[in-house]
């Protein structure tokens, strides 16, 4: 075995740890398992690198494209609500083995997604989950006091609107389709997609206000 420092996936992904400090327990375990699988020719180091590259390449723009299309095309929206996975594939989004459920926000229902057991997240549509989504605080409080959590995100949901929390505990993944903002009647799909933020597709925020979003370019 060579003596150079081995890199955990988190180092490969450049997730902020850099070279600081020794590897932690789970990093050591991940490295050991990965090296064994490579030695046994289950997969190659290049397979791992490509997978990490693909994971890092996904971002919320993919989900935003789907939402924007659904805002513009009622038939597509109907298909997306009936079968999220098929609707994603229809516009060239690779969803993998998990099943996607699209949740439509309406004038009477606001949807919020959490995974209390771990951190299940529609990575194929939104990229890697934000740190707060994985925190014990969000995971426990989103089901217990969702309106307080929403309020801390700056999102006040009217009293007559039902807050519906979705605990992503098993084989489904969830994408919230936020309400289309007013004043966007003339927008095309690309312009609409700029309003569909990551947080609005988790449900902790509404779609961006078009007036402020356009200023930001």
């Amino acid at each position: 075995m060579s003596s150079y420092r081995r890199y955990g996936l988190f180092d490969l992904r450049g997730a902020g740890r850099g070279d600081a400090g020794p590897n932690e327990y789970y990093q050591v375990m991940e490295i050991a398992l990965r090296e064994l699988l490579i030695e046994r020719n289950i997969f190659s180091a290049d397979d791992v690198r490509r997978q990490v590259e693909a994971m890092d390449g996904r971002n919320a723009g993919i989900g935003a494209r789907m939402v924007a299309k659904a805002w513009l095309d009622v038939d597509y929206k109907t298909r997306a609500l009936a079968n999220g996975s098929a609707a994603a594939q229809e516009i060239g989004i690779e969803v993998g083995p998990t099943k996607l459920i699209v949740l439509e926000n309406t004038e009477s229902v606001h949807n919020l997604v959490v995974c209390t057991l771990c951190s299940c997240y529609p990575r194929m549509l939104l990229g890697l989950p934000p740190d707060w989504y994985k925190s014990k605080s969000y995971r426990s409080r989103a089901v217990r006091e969702p309106r307080a959590v929403l309020s801390e995100f700056g999102t006040e949901i009217d009293h007559h609107v039902e807050v519906r929390v979705h605990d992503s505990t098993a084989d489904m993944r969830y994408l919230v389709m936020p309400l289309r903002p007013e004043g966007t009647e003339s927008y095309d799909e690309v312009e609409l997609a700029t309003l569909v933020t990551r947080d609005s597709m988790i449900g902790v925020a509404l779609a961006a206000d078009p007036s402020s979003s356009r200023q930001g370019g």
């Binding site: 309106r147 605990d167 098993a170």
Partner: protein, 103 residues
């Protein structure tokens, strides 16, 4: 035995109760819904049982997976939100029984 999948026995709109079981090991049914009654929102399909798959076993027979809707105030008596706020959770059939049939 070569049964690949368990037949779904609940329908959309059925009232169901989550078993109040506390089995050890890898379980996908959160504590906070155990023993509570909710309504079947949809059948998601049949999936390998994660409680078996987690230990390298086959996961067969596959289990029907439902989305069950609960009223927040049923889960948390002191819930501070609105009376019609809800929560939906995926629950496998072997964790459910028809509401009213609790021992």
């Amino acid at each position: 035995m070569s049964i690949d999948a368990v037949t779904p026995c609940f329908h959309v709109g059925d009232r169901v109760t989550v078993r109040e079981a506390f089995a050890p090991g890898h379980i996908r049914t959160p504590w906070y819904v155990r023993g509570h009654a909710g309504t079947v929102e949809r059948l998601c399909g049949v999936f390998g049982n994660p409680e078996e798959l987690a230990y390298g076993r086959s996961g067969l027979p596959r289990q029907p997976l439902y989305r069950v809707r609960f009223t927040q105030r049923d889960l948390w008596p002191d819930y501070a939100g609105q009376a019609n706020d809800t929560i939906e959770i995926e629950i496998y059939q072997h964790w459910l029984e028809a509401a009213g049939n609790r021992p």
